[in-house]
């Protein structure tokens, strides 16, 4: 990213922050949190302590960061090095990212950028200009991706409430600012559990590590097997629905499963894992020292904001999380695919100078498909 681009982004971000202080707050127990921020083309500044909204707003104005983060963990000494911080507890957080969901139409909204010569082209395996195979994939607004991510959020919520007994009002969903969601569980009994326990929670949610015995299957003595029913709690019930399809098929399919044997059933469970498990990023949940994008701040991968989602069915990130203004802005765009923001379509552009609303210019620069010069 060149200096002119950075200048435009910093100006836009600063204006957004100045106009939207009401959106950006320090979390609960701010003096126990670790904050961090990044500036464009620069490394991470971590281990920062901020105590009030005012201090946070001052940091935004003075440093004009590209990204701002805060820990889900509470520490006695948040600004000391990691092993001296004295970890106390942390909210349980789940990350659902569209890039992990293998959404069918995603490729239609993706292009590639060569990391060697910066050539941008529609999706292909090597650079059309220099033939290098080192390409980075860029995905622009894709409503299928968001729909699929929302569905994962819905299923995650169901498991959190039904299996883990989490109160619905303790679950908060945030749009990540790019193409996913962060789901926070507040005030739960899981606040104080460590990384290994969280790995178990993640495995449960992802339907990982299940053994046939959990469904009543026995390695030997297959005569006495009784497979679960639809209305049983947790995975026994949920997986039944997928395995049998419908209630009337239970007896027939269950007989078939039993006669196929233990290892066939094991394989079958493995095969449906992706389909019925919720596809969270387990590393995020398990890391209890992580810093997360601060709610209300802008994601420099897109120029969209990480915001609280009140009604997920109605939520449209490409409208609701787009806060940059509409002032006409000139950029040179090299964007081989179409995208949509604030219900307006843009592109494709072939290395051309265009004038677009600032939010679209910022989006393209953040994605790496446009530049000021």
């Amino acid at each position: 990213m060149n200096d002119k681009d950075i200048e435009l982004l910093e100006d836009s971000f600063k204006k957004f922050y100045f106009d939207h202080f009401n959106l950006i707050h320090v979390p609960e127990n701010p003096n126990q949190r670790e904050f961090g921020f990044q500036k464009f083309n620069s490394g991470m500044n971590r281990h920062i302590s901020l105590k009030t909204d005012k201090e946070l707003h001052l940091l935004l104005m003075q440093k004009v960061p590209s990204d701002v983060y805060v820990s889900n963990a509470c520490y006695s000494f948040p600004n000391l090095p990691m092993n001296e911080k004295d970890w106390k507890n942390a909210e349980l957080i789940f990350d659902i990212d569209a890039k992990d969901l293998d959404v069918k139409n995603r490729d239609q909204h993706s292009c590639v950028k060569c990391t060697e010569c910066n050539e941008i082209a529609i999706l292909q395996s090597s650079c059309p200009s220099c033939q290098s195979s080192k390409l980075s994939k860029i995905t622009l607004s894709c409503s299928d991706c968001i729909t699929e991510a929302k569905d994962q959020v819905r299923r995650l919520n169901e498991i959190l409430i039904d299996d883990f007994g989490v109160e619905p009002n303790n679950i908060q969903v945030f749009f990540s600012g790019n193409e996913g969601f962060h789901i926070y569980v507040n005030n739960s009994e899981f606040q104080s559990v460590g990384a290994k326990e969280r790995a178990e929670i993640a495995d449960h949610i992802m339907f990982r590590g299940i053994i046939p015995e959990t469904f009543g299957f026995k390695k030997f003595n297959s005569e006495k097997i009784l497979l679960p029913d639809f209305n049983e709690p947790s995975w026994r019930g949920r997986a039944s629905k997928v395995l049998y399809g419908s209630k009337s098929m239970r007896s027939k399919i269950s007989k078939k499963i039993i006669s196929s044997g233990y290892s066939a059933f094991q394989k079958q469970l493995e095969a449906v894992k992706e389909q019925i498990g919720v596809r969270i990023d387990p590393n995020v949940t398990v890391d209890i020292h992580r810093i997360f994008r601060l709610p209300g701040s802008i994601n420099s991968k897109s120029g969209l904001a990480k915001i609280f989602v009140n009604d997920i069915t109605k939520f449209n990130p490409y409208v609701d999380a787009c806060f940059i203004d509409s002032e006409d802005t000139e950029v040179i765009a090299n964007c081989p695919i179409e995208f949509s923001l604030k219900n307006k379509k843009f592109g494709p552009y072939k290395q051309e100078r265009i004038s677009v609303p600032k939010y679209a210019a910022v989006y393209m620069i953040c994605k790496g498909v446009a530049s000021c010069t």
Binding site: D163, V193, A199, P233, N283
Partner: protein, 336 residues
């Protein structure tokens, strides 16, 4: 602290304050070495240790007459003294596990005791006060909060203990009395061994020397010699292959590879060249990160992740030879 009756001290002797218990009963340690009437207890104590080294559980008849009750407790306490004097960790380890399993039997019986409320309450209290497990009983189910369950279940490597393989509903895990008690075996074991390790070692007691010597000899039997093959486990081989092909190995894979090789005694300079083919190779960054992991430029020396962790990161490529290991660095280790 728990208020223990004689019955409980017999079942859970490790809960007693050893020194206080002896003096309350009017005995001193020295007496056990010299008094011929007490010799039987010392023999019992030795037996108790020996049995533990065979992987068996010392069986005691709790329903014996009242006069025999202190024998049970005394033999435990004297066994601890003998272990301290012997100073062999391998014996302490075996003894505390066997004693944990012994008390597990009582705990399970008491937990499921519907007739004697006092016994049941005491067992529930032990589970709560010592192991922070709040149990709710409903019919045959022992219902505990998921967070309580997880704190203990993570000590197990068997898949049946994974949360996903448990009956759970609305924040609770449903267990049998046996499973509930099994859940805390490691903690009872740890509780006993910590208590033994933190006890003061007395001066050698007259009359104990012979026993101590025989126990030391016994311990030598358990010295384990291992040989290690130089073959790398499949996860490490896979990581090296990926790098050799110039493909991208995720951060977690690089972390695994580096910490594994450090554990095998390799140095930063030997490991760094492996990453040369990585698509994003940067010598400065690689050296910085390796120095950080090795503990050279940081306060922590990072350990190689467990097999379980690698499985969850899709870095595990298990083969039959991996059987029984829980960390890649154990691969190829064999006892002789």
């Amino acid at each position: 602290m728990l208020n223990l009756g004689t019955d409980e001290i017999v079942k859970y002797p490790f809960l007693a304050e050893a020194g206080k218990y002896l003096s309350d009963k009017g005995f001193s340690l020295e007496q056990f070495g010299t008094d011929p009437d007490l010799k039987r207890i010392v023999d019992m104590a030795v037996e108790r240790i020996k049995i533990s080294t065979e992987g068996k559980i010392y069986s005691s008849d709790v329903s014996e007459t009242n006069s025999s009750l202190p024998m049970e407790v005394f033999s435990f306490l004297i066994a601890v003294i003998l272990l301290k004097l012997t100073g062999m960790h391998t014996l302490i380890r075996r003894f505390s596990l066997a004693e944990a399993r012994r008390s597990e039997r009582f705990l399970e019986k008491d937990l499921a005791n519907y007739k004697d409320k006092t016994k049941e309450e005491m067992a529930l209290k032990i589970m709560h006060d010592l192991f922070s497990i709040t149990i709710q009983k409903k019919d045959d189910d022992f219902i505990i909060p998921i967070s309580n369950y997880l704190k203990h279940s993570i000590n197990f490597h068997e898949r049946e203990w994974k949360l996903i393989n448990r009956k759970i509903d609305n924040g609770s895990v449903f267990l049998t009395s046996h499973e509930t008690v099994r859940l805390v075996r490691k903690e009872i074991d740890r509780y006993i061994s910590t208590k033994i390790h933190s006890a003061n070692t007395p001066e050698m007691i007259e009359g104990f020397q012979e026993h101590v010597n025989s126990l030391k000899n016994l311990a030598k039997k358990f010295e384990v010699k291992t040989v290690e093959s130089s073959e790398y486990p499949p996860c490490i081989k896979h990581a090296i292959e990926v790098l050799e092909k110039g493909e991208n190995l995720p951060h977690s894979g690089r972390f695994m590879l580096a910490t594994f090789l450090f554990a095998k005694g390799q140095q930063v300079e030997e490991i760094a060249p492996l990453f040369k083919n990585a698509p994003d190779y940067n010598e400065k960054v690689t050296l910085y990160q390796l120095n950080h992991l090795s503990g050279k430029s940081s306060t922590t020396k990072y350990a190689c992740p467990s097999c379980e962790k690698l499985k969850s990161q899709n870095l595990c490529f298990i083969i039959p030879e991996c059987d029984g290991i829980i960390n890649p660095i154990q691969f190829g280790r064999k006892r002789v």
